[in-house]
C-alpha cells in the first residue's frame, strides 16, 4: 500500500476541490464522473426493485406485495433502467471521460453544453420519477406506456413522456457534442481511420441519438394535443389508432437499443487488443458494421409489433430486415475472437468481463433471432422469453461491457488499482447469478409464461424460483464488485500510467489525467492499434 504523499501532482480530481467545483465543472472527465455517480444511484434503486419483484415471484399467488404494487414496480424498474440508466449509460460516462482523450483533444467541442446536458439529464430523471408518483397514482402502465390503457388512468403518461423527451434532449445534446468533437477536435494526423474504435462506436451512437430522439418529442406533442384539444391520434374513443402509438414509440425505442449496445461493443473492442497485445482484427469492417447497425437499426421497429395486427406484408418485411441487422453484430463477434487469436492473452478482470460479454451477448443475439423469426415470434411475443432476451442483451451485453469498461479504465480515472482477486470473485457471482436469473425465463417463456404477470400457473414455479435464487447471487456479486471499486478508488495501490500496456492515447498520459489531458497535443502518425514494442517481449 501507498505511503501518504504530501505533494500529489495536480490532476483533474484534485486541481480544484469542493462540491461546487464539481457541480460547475466543464471538464469532460468530471462530467463523466457526475454521470457515473448519478447513474449508479439510479441503477441500484432499480436493481432493488427488480430483486423485490423476483422475491414476489418466488411462489405463485401473493408473496410479499399486492398486484398493484407489483405492476407499479415493473413500470418504475423499466423506466429507470431503460431511460435513465442504459440509454445514457455508457456513452455519457465513458464517452465523456475517454472520448476527448482518445482522440487527442483537451475537452469536447462544447464543454458548457456538456455540463448543461448533465443538468438536463438530472431534470429528466427527476421528472421521470415524479411522473410515477404524481397525482397520488401508483403507476402501472409498463415502461412502454401503451395506449389506450395509459390514456385511461391519469395524466401521468404526459409527464412520463415529457421525462423521456427531456432525457432524450440530454441525449441529443451529448450526441451533437460528440459528433462535433469527433469531426473537429481530432489530434493532428488522426485521420478517420486512425481513430480508435470506441470513439467510432460513439460516433455511430451519436447519430442515432440525434436523429431518433426527436420522434419522442413528436409523440409527446401528439399525446398532449389529444388530451388538450381532443384530436384523436391514439385513443379509439376519439377515433384514434392505438397501434399508431406503438409505431411511434418503437421508431424511437428500437434505435435506442443500439444507443445502448453500440458503445458497449466499442468498449470491449478496446479491451481485446490491449489484453492480447495485438491489433484489432478487421478494423475497417468493425467501423462499417457499427455504421450499418446504426443505419439498419432504424428500420426494424416493426418486429416489436408482429402480433399487433399490422399487415402481412409489413410483418414479413420487418422480419427480413431484422435478420439483416444480425450480420454486422455477428461480424463483430468474429472480429473480437480473431483479435485475441494468436495474441498474448492476459486474463485480467477487464478481459474476464469482456469475454463474458461475448458469451452473454451471443445468447442474447441468437434468442433475438428466434424472436425476429415470424413463426417463433408468435409463440414468444410478450412472454418471459422476451424478458430473458433483452436482459441478456442489455444487462449481459451493455451491463457487462460497462463492468468491463470500469475495470479497464478505473486505474486511469482514479490513478489507483482495485483488488484483482475481489474483482474475479465478484465476477463469478455476477456471471453465475446472471445466468441463473435469466436463463430459466427462456424455458418457461417457450412454454407460454407471459411477461408482466403478477401471478402464475404452478407449472412455471420451478423456473421462477430458480430465477429468484439467481437474483440473490447476482446482487451478491454486484455488492462485491462495487465495494471493491469504491474502496480502492481511495485506498487502492497507486496505479501506473499504463498498467495494461495499452497503446491508445489515454494510456500515454498520467493517471489520473491532468486537468486538460495533454500538455502538448500529440501528433498521430499511424493507425491506433500498433503494438510495436510489446511489453511482453
Amino acid at each position: 500500500m501507498t505511503k501518504s504523499i504530501t505533494q500529489e501532482p495536480l490532476n483533474y480530481l484534485n486541481h480544484k476541490t469542493g462540491l461546487w467545483s464539481w457541480l460547475t465543472s466543464t471538464d469532460h472527465k468530471r462530467i463523466g464522473l457526475l454521470y457515473l455517480y448519478s447513474i449508479t444511484i439510479f441503477f441500484c434503486t432499480a436493481a432493488v426493485l427488480g430483486l423485490l419483484m423476483r422475491i414476489e415471484k418466488m411462489a405463485p399467488g401473493q408473496t410479499i406485495m399486492t398486484a398493484q404494487t407489483y405492476n407499479g414496480m415493473f413500470t418504475i424498474h423499466g423506466i429507470i433502467m431503460v431511460f435513465i440508466v442504459v440509454i445514457p449509460g455508457l456513452a455519457a460516462v465513458f464517452g465523456n471521460i475517454m472520448l476527448p482523450i482518445m482522440i487527442g483533444a483537451k475537452d469536447v467541442a462544447f464543454p458548457k453544453l456538456n455540463l448543461f446536458s448533465w443538468y438536463v439529464f438530472i431534470t429528466g430523471a427527476m421528472l421521470g420519477l415524479y411522473s410515477q408518483f404524481a397525482n397520488g397514482h401508483s403507476p402501472d402502465t409498463g415502461w412502454t406506456f401503451y395506449v389506450p390503457y395509459s390514456a385511461q388512468a391519469s395524466s401521468n403518461v404526459v409527464i412520463a413522456l415529457t421525462a423521456a423527451f427531456v432525457l432524450g434532449f440530454a441525449s441529443i445534446l451529448t450526441g451533437l457534442n460528440f459528433i462535433v468533437t469527433i469531426h473537429r477536435m481530432r489530434a493532428p494526423g488522426m485521420t478517420w481511420f486512425r481513430m480508435p474504435l470506441f470513439p467510432w462506436s460513439l460516433y455511430a451512437t451519436a447519430w442515432i441519438q440525434l436523429l431518433a430522439t426527436p420522434i419522442v418529442g413528436i409523440t409527446l406533442l401528439m399525446v398532449i394535443a389529444e388530451r388538450t384539444f381532443h384530436i384523436g391520434f391514439f385513443d379509439p374513443a376519439l377515433g384514434g389508432d392505438p397501434v399508431l402509438y406503438q409505431h411511434l414509440f418503437w421508431i424511437y425505442s428500437h434505435p435506442a437499443v443500439y444507443v445502448m449496445i453500440l458503445p458497449a461493443m466499442g468498449v470491449v473492442t478496446e479491451i481485446f487488443p490491449t489484453f492480447s497485445q495485438k491489433p484489432v482484427f478487421g478494423y475497417v469492417p468493425i467501423v462499417f458494421s457499427s455504421m450499418a447497425i446504426a443505419l439498419v437499426g432504424y428500420f426494424v421497429w416493426g418486429h416489436h409489433m408482429f402480433t399487433s395486427g399490422i399487415s402481412y406484408e409489413s410483418r414479413w418485411f420487418f422480419s427480413f430486415l431484422t435478420f439483416l441487422v444480425a450480420i454486422p453484430s455477428a461480424i463483430k463477434v468474429f472480429n473480437w475472437l480473431s483479435t485475441m487469436y494468436g495474441g498474448s492473452v492476459d486474463l485480467k478482470p477487464p478481459l474476464l468481463y469482456a469475454i463474458s460479454f461475448i458469451f452473454l451477448f451471443t445468447i442474447g443475439g441468437f434468442t433475438g433471432l428466434t424472436l425476429g423469426s415470424l413463426a417463433t415470434n408468435i409463440q414468444l411475443h410478450n412472454t418471459d422469453f422476451v424478458v430473458a432476451h433483452f436482459h441478456y442483451i442489455i444487462f449481459g451485453g451493455m451491463g457487462f461491457a460497462f463492468f468491463a469498461g470500469i475495470h479497464y479504465w478505473f486505474p486511469k480515472i482514479y490513478g489507483r488499482m482495485y483488488n484483482f482477486k475481489w474483482a474475479n470473485i465478484s465476477w463469478g457471482f455476477l456471471f453465475v447469478g446472471f445466468n441463473l436469473l435469466y436463463f430459466p425465463l427462456f424455458i418457461i417463456g417457450i412454454q407460454g409464461m407471459p411477461r408482466r404477470y403478477f401471478d402464475y400457473d404452478p407449472k412455471f414455479q420451478m423456473g421462477e424460483s430458480l430465477s429468484t435464487i439467481g437474483a440473490f447471487i447476482l446482487i451478491t456479486g454486484f455488492i462485491g464488485m462495487i465495494t471493491n471499486l469504491i474502496y480502492h478508488s481511495r485506498k487502492g495501490a497507486i496505479a501506473p500510467a499504463n498498467p495494461w500496456h495499452g497503446v491508445t492515447l489515454e494510456w500515454q498520459i498520467p493517471s489520473p489525467p491532468p486537468h486538460e489531458n495533454f500538455d502538448e497535443i500529440p501528433i498521430i502518425t499511424h493507425e491506433p492499434y500498433r503494438f510495436d514494442n510489446p511489453y511482453t517481449k
Partner: protein, 311 residues
C-alpha cells in the same frame, strides 16, 4: 393434461420446425464460440505465448464470416416465414367465433346470443377467432396451438387454427392490461364434433338486453376498472348494492356515517377525494367533472337506483 410442448393445432408443426432449426444453429454457434474462446484463453495465454502475432486482416476469412451467417439467417427468416404464412390464410370454411376481451376476462361469442366463458371448439375443424376489445389492448395467446394476436379496440384482428389434439389448454392474455392482467385467463377445450354440437345446443342464450343508459356511461368511463359489480374489492368500493347503502366515510380528519344517496353518488364522481369510504385510499380517483355531464350523472344515479330495486 397439458404437457410441455403439445402440438395442439395444425399450425404448431411448422412453428416447432422453425424453433428446432433456429435453436440447433444457435446451440452449435454458441458452443463453438465459447469453445474457441476457452481455447484461445488457454493456448494463447500470456504464460504460453509471450510473442503476440501482429496480423489484423484476412480477407478470405472475413468474406466467409459475412456470407455464411447471411445465408444462415436468411434460412432462419425463411423457416419463420413459412411457419407463419398459413396463420394469415384463413380457410373459407372456418367456423367463426367472436372473442371479446375486456378487463379482465374473456368471452367467446358463438352467434345467436350464445356466449361462453370457455373456448370450446370441435376437434379437427377450422376455427376463426375474431378479436374484439371492449376497453384496452389485450392479446389472445394459446401456447399449445402456437397462436397469438393482439386484441385492440377498433381493430378487426383475427387468428385461426385447426385443433388436432383433444383436451384442455390454457389461454392467456399477453398484452398488459392493468391490475388483474395475470388473472385474465380462460381455457380452450377441444372436443368431438358430436359433443361440441350438443354443448353448443345446451349453451344458454345470454341476456342480450341493452345496457341501462347509466350503466353504459359507467362502462364508457371505465369505472369498472376500479369498482366491481359483484361486491369484490378492487381499488375502490364495489358498486354492488350501492344505492341507499349506509357506509362510514373518512372526511378530513373525522369519520362519519352517511347514506349513499343521489347527492353522495354525484359528489363522489365530481369530488372523489372529499369523502373516502373507510378502508380505501385517498387520491387514487380523479375528478370526472369535465368528463361526465350533469345529465349523465342523473342517468348513473338512476341506474344505481334501478340496480338495487331489481334485487
Amino acid at each position: 393434461m397439458e404437457t410441455l410442448f403439445n402440438e395442439g393445432s395444425n399450425l404448431a408443426g411448422a412453428v416447432d420446425r422453425a424453433f428446432i432449426f433456429i435453436f440447433a444453429i444457435s446451440f452449435i454457434f454458441t458452443i463453438g464460440i465459447t469453445a474457441l474462446m476457452i481455447y484461445i484463453l488457454i493456448h494463447f495465454s500470456r504464460k504460453r505465448n509471450k510473442n503476440p502475432q501482429q496480423f489484423s486482416h484476412n480477407t478470405k476469412l472475413e468474406v466467409a464470416w459475412t456470407i455464411i451467417p447471411l445465408i444462415i439467417v436468411m434460412m432462419m427468416f425463411y423457416y419463420g416465414w413459412v411457419g407463419f404464412a398459413p396463420m394469415r390464410k384463413v380457410p373459407a370454411n372456418a367456423m367463426p367465433v367472436t372473442v371479446i376481451g375486456k378487463m379482465w376476462s374473456w368471452e367467446f361469442d358463438y352467434g345467436n346470443g350464445k356466449v361462453s366463458k370457455e373456448l370450446v371448439v370441435p376437434f379437427n375443424r377450422n376455427v376463426k377467432l375474431n378479436l374484439v376489445s371492449l376497453d384496452v389492448n389485450h392479446s389472445l395467446f394459446i401456447p399449445a396451438f402456437r397462436v397469438k394476436e393482439d386484441v385492440i379496440p377498433g381493430y378487426n384482428n383475427y387468428l385461426w387454427f385447426r385443433p388436432i389434439m383433444k383436451g384442455t389448454f390454457d389461454i392467456y392474455c399477453t398484452e398488459y392490461c392493468g391490475l388483474a392482467h395475470s388473472n385474465m385467463l380462460a381455457k380452450a377445450i377441444v372436443v368431438d364434433s358430436l359433443e361440441f354440437n350438443k354443448w353448443l345446443a345446451d349453451l344458454k342464450v345470454a341476456d342480450n338486453l341493452p345496457d341501462h343508459p347509466g350503466l353504459a356511461i359507467v362502462k364508457a368511463n371505465a369505472c369498472l376498472t376500479c369498482h366491481s359489480m359483484d361486491g369484490s374489492k378492487i381499488i375502490g368500493p364495489s358498486f354492488k348494492g350501492l344505492y341507499g347503502r349506509k357506509t362510514v366515510v373518512v372526511a378530513g380528519t373525522g369519520e362519519k356515517e352517511i347514506e349513499e344517496n343521489d347527492e353522495y353518488i354525484k359528489r363522489s364522481i365530481i369530488d372523489p377525494n372529499i369523502e373516502i369510504v373507510k378502508g380505501f385510499n385517498q387520491g387514487l380517483m380523479l375528478s370526472y367533472k369535465d368528463k361526465i355531464s350533469a345529465e349523465e350523472l342523473d342517468k348513473i344515479v338512476d341506474y344505481f337506483k334501478s340496480a338495487v330495486e331489481k334485487k
